[in-house]
């Protein structure tokens, strides 16, 4: 199998694997990026959300061959404790989470939204997160956190 090139979190990588392998498995098992989670493997829960060329997509349903050459951003590429993305900081500020398993996927969906729509209404945020399941019921805090991050990003851009 010829290696397949990808750009993951800004870094060029090339992966030797069956081209049918789900991107999720490539990230978790081949590249060691465990931040993206397995939830259902059926594109129904959003736990495995990543940005593919800027668009939030469920990585469990994307074969490696389909994403060849594309730019992938995972939760690890969003920020770090030292340099958190405003969304990550806002989730901490709002204590937006319980078990936290769904959060990487939700943060990616939210980033996808704010990257193209910096001033979303609460209804627009909710609609953008409808692909993500949170079973613990942290929804209200998550919506508040995305609103807060949007505000922080806008204020940063105004400065």
């Amino acid at each position: 199998m010829p290696p397949i090139p990808l750009v993951v979190n800004g870094r060029e990588v090339s992966v030797s694997a069956d081209p049918d392998t789900p991107l999720l498995d490539i990230l978790r098992n081949h590249l060691g990026l465990k931040g993206t989670k397995f939830g259902c493997g059926q594109e129904q829960c959003g736990c495995c959300m990543v940005l593919i060329d800027g668009n939030p997509e469920k990585s469990c349903g994307k074969a490696l061959a389909v994403v060849a050459g594309k730019h992938i951003v995972t939760i690890e590429g969003m920020g770090t404790p030292d340099r958190p993305h405003p969304l990550q900081q806002a989730f901490l500020d709002e204590q937006a989470g319980q078990c936290g398993y769904c959060l990487p996927g939700i943060l990616i969906s939210a980033k996808g939204l704010l990257d193209r729509s910096p001033s979303p209404s609460r209804a627009q945020i909710a609609a953008a997160l409808d692909d993500n399941i949170c079973r613990c019921g942290s929804h209200i805090r998550i919506l508040r956190a995305v609103e807060r991050a949007a505000r922080v990003i806008r204020e940063g851009a105004d400065r």
Partner: protein, 708 residues
């Protein structure tokens, strides 16, 4: 040396102080709790309790949790009991440790004991440092001694950590995508495994087309087979997962009886044989003369835990010792069940908790750990990781049983109950792994343990009977309970157990009675509610929501209230819901007032109540396990829908007296029943017709309107 009889039970069971607190290095404290983080934030609260009582900065404390090698045996992290019982034990242990150090400092250095205190681990005398601290004295204060309960805990007026909002200690790792979950664990030489599930207990494998499975596999796989336990192993998880997905088509089973799909609705329970019990005064044999009667029946389908990810377990058998990693709620009970399953000495097994996706009761976590243990035991020196498939989790987790509740009351001249009966039909709500049974892997192995008999917990708190007795002041109240042993699918505990439908039934019935009496439903409740704390939360919720009496019903918009004290012995919660109903129910707003006694971490507690409200709203509006002749047929998020972001209401939660010096009351499950009831009452108000069968789907609303 034995522990004092006055100690709380968990300290009596784990009396050795060094099991709870250690000072391993200068400036460092290790605190152990048998409680585990299952998404509820309990570790943060435990850390606050320990920091407060030891008088050390929380940052100094490393928490050890849920490890049979290291931590106290606290049974299960379940039933909203972690703070109410585990927290109390930890608090006393920490207070005694602090007291021992102060006693020692006083004796060793000739200080007056009354002059001494602790500030961030340093021993202080009349406000000035003594130069001594926990760490300098650790070598001379022997914690290999049993708790006596003899030390005074701090006065609540001295608290500066407990009662303050504390950020979750586990949240940061999760927000930054660090490998925080058991699913993220990697061990050298790991092999991935999937189990081909036995469709029913007692089903036997007739034939396996191994060749077909090997042909379909895109890489090397192995089989582990013992009697009716069949697993597929391989180093490439993608390969193993793909084979597991098609494996059920290549395995033929004998002894698979068809299930009657009609059993997905609860009323079939009424025809089943049952184990019957009555709690309370005998029911009057005849209608009480002159008293009007009212009776109504409420039902609920089976409910899935539906954790956001399927269960996972890891195990490694090496040099005669089995190490297991699990997100089970009880590492010690799981260890004992594994010991019986594998015929091993419990001392040869270590079970360690690692966080998993949110846990709301007995799901498949124990089963996944048992799968990994059984496979690892047969494959020494190979670390085995079993991650269930989504459809496996939905299809084989123990679900919360379907229930029927009939409430009947004899009413006095003012239309208030003089005699009240809650009659409950339910499958078992508890089947945690105990005697080696109730682990799916054990049932598939040779000589499976006999099916554990269906049992109902003692009342209170009860299981199916939980909250079956209303808190209201009725002259005679009783529960009649029918435990149905034979259910079509495996059932066990889910957040709230029987309380969810029991509170739904009681609080719906109260609204029906209020309406018949021509009274406002809040005023009607308060007229029969003398418990001051109960009254306070009902009145607080009414105030929060700006409750108005006498608003017309049947307008398409409605409000309802639900109230309960969880288990009749834990936290009080009153919930008001506002809905709009057209073809479906739109939940707009929820207000909740709760009294949980002293609250350790107010923001964490509110988070728990908010989560409970949203989960209960999902149960009320959407959830019911579907069956077909093969068993559970709702095996994905399409056929088992839950509330999504666009559907969640605005929520306001407030505590009543959260800083009062009163015992902590478990609150993690307190909002569920009241929320389901509030939504039901709001829908009845909006429609002008009552829907007594959950979930409140479009089909059921239509049927209720046609009947009305």
């Amino acid at each position: 040396m034995s522990a004092s009889p006055g100690l709380p039970p968990l300290l009596t069971a784990n009396p050795r102080l060094g099991r709870w607190v250690q000072f391993p290095a200068p400036g460092r404290v290790t605190v152990s709790t048998g409680r585990v983080e299952i998404g509820q934030g309990v570790l943060t609260a435990m850390l606050q309790i320990a920091a407060e009582e030891l008088d050390v900065a929380p940052e100094r404390i490393l928490l050890q949790t849920g490890d049979t090698d290291l931590t106290p045996n606290e049974g299960y992290t379940a039933g909203s009991q972690s703070i109410q019982f585990g927290g109390v034990a930890l608090r006393l242990a920490c207070a005694e440790v602090r007291g021992l150090f102060l006693d020692h400092a006083a004796a060793a250095f000739g200080y007056s004991r009354g002059d001494l205190s602790v500030r961030d681990g340093a021993i202080i005398r009349r406000g000035a440092p003594t130069g001594h601290d926990y760490w300098s004295l650790a070598a001379t204060v022997d914690l290999r001694r049993n708790a006596t309960g003899g030390s005074r805990t701090k006065s609540i007026s001295d608290y500066h950590v407990v009662g303050q909002n504390a950020p979750r200690i586990d949240l940061s790792a999760k927000v930054f995508g660090e490998p925080a979950f058991i699913h993220d664990m990697v061990l050298d030489g790991i092999v991935h495994a999937r189990v081909v599930r036995q469709p029913r207990r007692d089903a036997t494998i007739a034939r396996i087309d191994e060749a077909a499975l090997r042909r379909a596999a895109k890489g090397p796989i192995e089989f582990v087979r013992d009697a009716n336990f069949l697993a597929i192993l391989g180093e490439d998880e993608t390969v193993v997962e793909a084979v597991a997905a098609i494996a059920p088509n290549h395995v033929v089973w004998d002894g698979v009886d068809a299930i009657n799909p009609l059993q997905e609705e609860a009323r079939w329970l009424l025809q089943r044989p049952s184990i019957d019990r009555a709690i309370g005064p005998p029911e009057p044999s005849e209608t009480m003369p002159g008293l009007r009667r009212h009776e109504a029946t409420y039902t609920r389908m089976h409910i899935a835990h539906a954790s956001v990810a399927p269960s996972c377990g890891l195990a490694l058998y090496r040099n005669g010792h089995l190490q297991v990693w699990t997100h089970s709620q009880g590492v010690y009970p799981l260890r004992d069940a594994l010991a019986r399953t594998l015929d091993l000495d419990p001392a040869a097994i270590s079970v360690r908790h690692v966080q998993g996706p949110g846990c709301y009761g007995h799901n498949s976590a124990d089963d996944a750990a048992a799968d990994a243990a059984v496979i690892a035991f047969r494959n020494p020196d190979r670390p085995v990781k079993v991650r269930w498939r989504r459809e496996e989790e939905f299809g084989f987790e123990p679900v919360s049983p379907a229930m029927v509740v009939t409430v009947r009351a004899a009413l006095d001249g003012a239309g208030r109950p003089a005699d009240w009966t809650t009659e409950i039909w339910s499958g078992r709500h508890t089947s945690r792994p105990g005697s080696g049974g109730n682990l799916l892997a054990a049932e598939a192995l040779p000589d499976p343990p006999p099916a554990a008999p269906a049992v109902e917990s003692g009342y209170p708190p009860g299981a199916g009977t939980r909250n079956g007795e209303p808190l209201y002041d009725f002259a005679a109240k009783r529960i009649v309970h029918h435990l149905i042993a034979g259910t079509p699918v495996r059932t066990s505990s889910l957040r709230g157990l029987g309380a969810t439908l029991n509170v739904y039934a009681i609080e719906s019935f109260m609204d029906e009675l209020a309406e018949q009496a021509g009274m406002d439903s809040v005023a009607y409740r308060l007229s029969k509610l003398s418990d001051a704390r109960a009254r306070a939360v009902v009145q607080h919720a009414a105030r929060l929501s700006e409750w108005k009496a006498g608003t017309p019903s049947g307008t398409g918009r409605g409000r309802g209230l639900g109230f309960a004290r969880y288990k009749n012995m834990a936290a009080y919660a009153a919930v008001v819901a506002e809905v709009e109903v057209d073809e479906a129910v739109h939940l707009l707003r929820v207000w909740c007032a709760a009294d949980a006694g002293l609250v350790i971490n107010p923001d964490g507690a509110i988070n728990q109540l908010e989560g409970g409200i949203i989960q209960a709203a999902s149960w009320a509006l959407k959830e019911g396990v579907r069956l077909d002749s093969n068993g559970i047929s709702s095996r994905d998020w399409e056929s088992y829908p839950v509330l999504r972001f666009s559907e969640v209401p605005d929520i306001t939660v407030e505590f009543v007296d959260a800083t009062a010096d009163r015992p902590c009351l478990g609150l993690g499950e307190a909002a569920g029943g009241p929320t389901v009831a509030a939504i039901g009452n709001a829908v009845a108000h909006a429609l002008g017709a009552r829907v007594r069968d959950l979930p409140l789907t479009r089909e059921r609303l239509m049927a209720a309107l046609l009947r009305a």
